[in-house]
Symmetry: C2
Subunit: 332 residues, 2 copies
């Protein structure tokens, strides 16, 4: 059934949307799930569709296996997102999750595959009964906004705020290469529904903690540029000095990708489990996904990551060597 | 005549636009000017309107008293912007310049006040014959895009790229409080005319030199937060260490304003003329313009600046004291 439905998705998306509309109209108790390590599109899509369903009279449960990041807690109903679910549901919806594994433990606990799936990831196999997948959408939130009317769902102001957060964060503030005129048109619809672009932009994307900026200071103090490769490292000591207790690099990678003289940016994050987390970002024409895969990780051509066991210096030496080879091979 | 025309601007903008359309239709040789220390809106508006006029068959000269910043050199016709002008013109247009003094030496050299003015600054007195001033526009470029059809001018792809650069840079990437649904709608029109949002965004706003990022590192190494005030300094030594030879702070102020725990951000830039350049940014509810004025500078409530003679330490002490008093007074 899955492959049949997936075929319908590709050949006749309007038929899938119509079927989804009927399924939603008939449903009373909905469970919505999004992926582990949720980003702004995961949370924004989950809350946006959830609030639209609730405005249409459905009982809605929201769940994510991981906690909601601090900067999204201002969104309406963010506090309702649970780490687990219980009960019976006549509509199960997966959001922004490229494969069932991305739902984490929640996916394993489902009584059946999701009834409905909204996603924009290229690699999504279409694991739900009805799959609304559009890889041309710059975010899953964008895809939802576009289809709300056809799905018979209202766009309320709270839903609009959540969906706008999804669009802004997944396009890095309307900056990514997949941001289209349609993206802007849909963002306008959300503003017309009452969402404040400046407010959502500030809270969901722009504002960061002082500790995060201090972590930037630590990372930028060690930044290096050589032959169109820019990189830096964040040691455990730097994390302590900055008093930054979050995971990852506090989006410092976005500062590195802004360096005009570089085609590839890399950040090495030392962890306390003996591994080093590596993030790559590449300009168009370079594919860092293959590089990440060679180190046991994955991702997309322009953005990929991996976790490698070893000391920071040892991992850095190996990874920088391989990255330099990619740079030389792709642009000899 | 000026005050009469200004009154017309306010009372019947459509009449001013109609008069501007006739003036443009009758013109053959146009001179377009923008303000000193040009930003993206100054350059984008100048080039955008200039290229539209040229596409309509006019002979167009473009001038600015100061050089075009590096990041805008990719824009079509940017190389044609001259530091001076000569010849006879039957249409003189001023862009994004809040008062005639902002045109610098070029303003003094004009044979008459500008025939036409496009601006969005609140303080603009309307010093041209026909004044198209809209303080609700988030950029002068936005105002131009909106009025191009009524002015009888075509929107070509090169013009669209320049105007999009103006919109993106003046809204700090669609982030400022004055970014509206109309802003997004007009950006869409520019994309429909062939401008690439991701490309223009990257080149005009996002990408910066490695030296600029190294200057950030120097500034962030000294960042301090105290009682909702965040500040840092950029010494001459830091500038040398970073090998950053540009003026100002390389937009480091935008990193400081991202600190969630602060309401006011200040940067002190040590200069080699015995002065210290100060930039303030404030959250809604605070007015740093009055503070800047007290130090001989100026600006708007949320963003202001001043140049103060004295050593870095001495100026810093005085300015931080006054800024703390403002913070305490506005939110006691």
């Amino acid at each position: 059934m899955m492959s049949q439905t997936a075929a319908v998705t590709e050949a006749r998306p309007a038929a899938v949307v119509a079927a989804a509309r009927r399924r939603i109209a008939a449903a009373q108790r909905a469970l919505l799930l999004t992926h582990v390590a949720p980003d702004g599109d995961a949370i924004g899509s989950l809350l946006g569709l959830g609030l639209a369903l609730r405005a249409a009279g459905k009982t809605v449960s929201l769940a994510c296996a991981d906690p909601v990041p601090d900067m999204f807690e201002f969104l309406p109903a963010a506090g309702e997102i649970a780490r687990a679910f219980s009960g019976e549901f006549d509509l199960i919806v997966a959001l922004d999750a490229a494969d069932p594994g991305r739902l984490g433990a929640l996916g394993e606990a489902l009584p059946r595959p999701p009834d409905l799936l909204f996603d924009h990831h290229l690699t999504n196999p279409g694991y739900a009964d009805l799959n609304l997948i559009d890889v041309s959408a710059a975010s899953t939130a964008e895809l939802i906004v576009e289809h709300l009317p056809a799905l018979g769902l209202p766009l309320t102001r709270p839903a609009a705020e959540c969906l706008l957060a999804g669009i802004i964060t997944d396009t890095l503030g309307f900056r990514t290469a997949n941001t289209t005129a349609k993206t802007l048109a849909l963002a306008q619809q959300l503003m017309a529904a009452g969402a404040s672009l400046p407010e959502v932009y500030d809270k969901a994307f722009y504002k960061r903690s002082f500790a995060a900026v201090r972590l930037w200071a630590e990372g930028l103090a060690r930044i290096q540029l050589e032959d169109r490769l820019v990189w830096t490292e964040l040691t455990l000591e730097a994390r302590r000095a900055a008093r930054y207790y979050g995971q990852g690099d506090a989006d410092l990678i976005n500062v590195l990708t802004s360096v005009r003289e570089a085609d590839i940016a890399v950040i090495f994050v030392e962890r306390n489990d003996g591994k080093v987390k590596i993030s790559w970002r590449a300009a168009p024409g370079f594919n860092v996904a293959a590089l990440a895969a060679a180190f046991g990780g994955g991702g997309h051509a322009p953005a990929a990551g991996a976790e490698v066991a070893g000391s920071l210096d040892e991992v850095k030496t190996r990874v920088l060597k391989a990255t330099r080879e990619l740079l030389a091979a792709d642009h000899p």
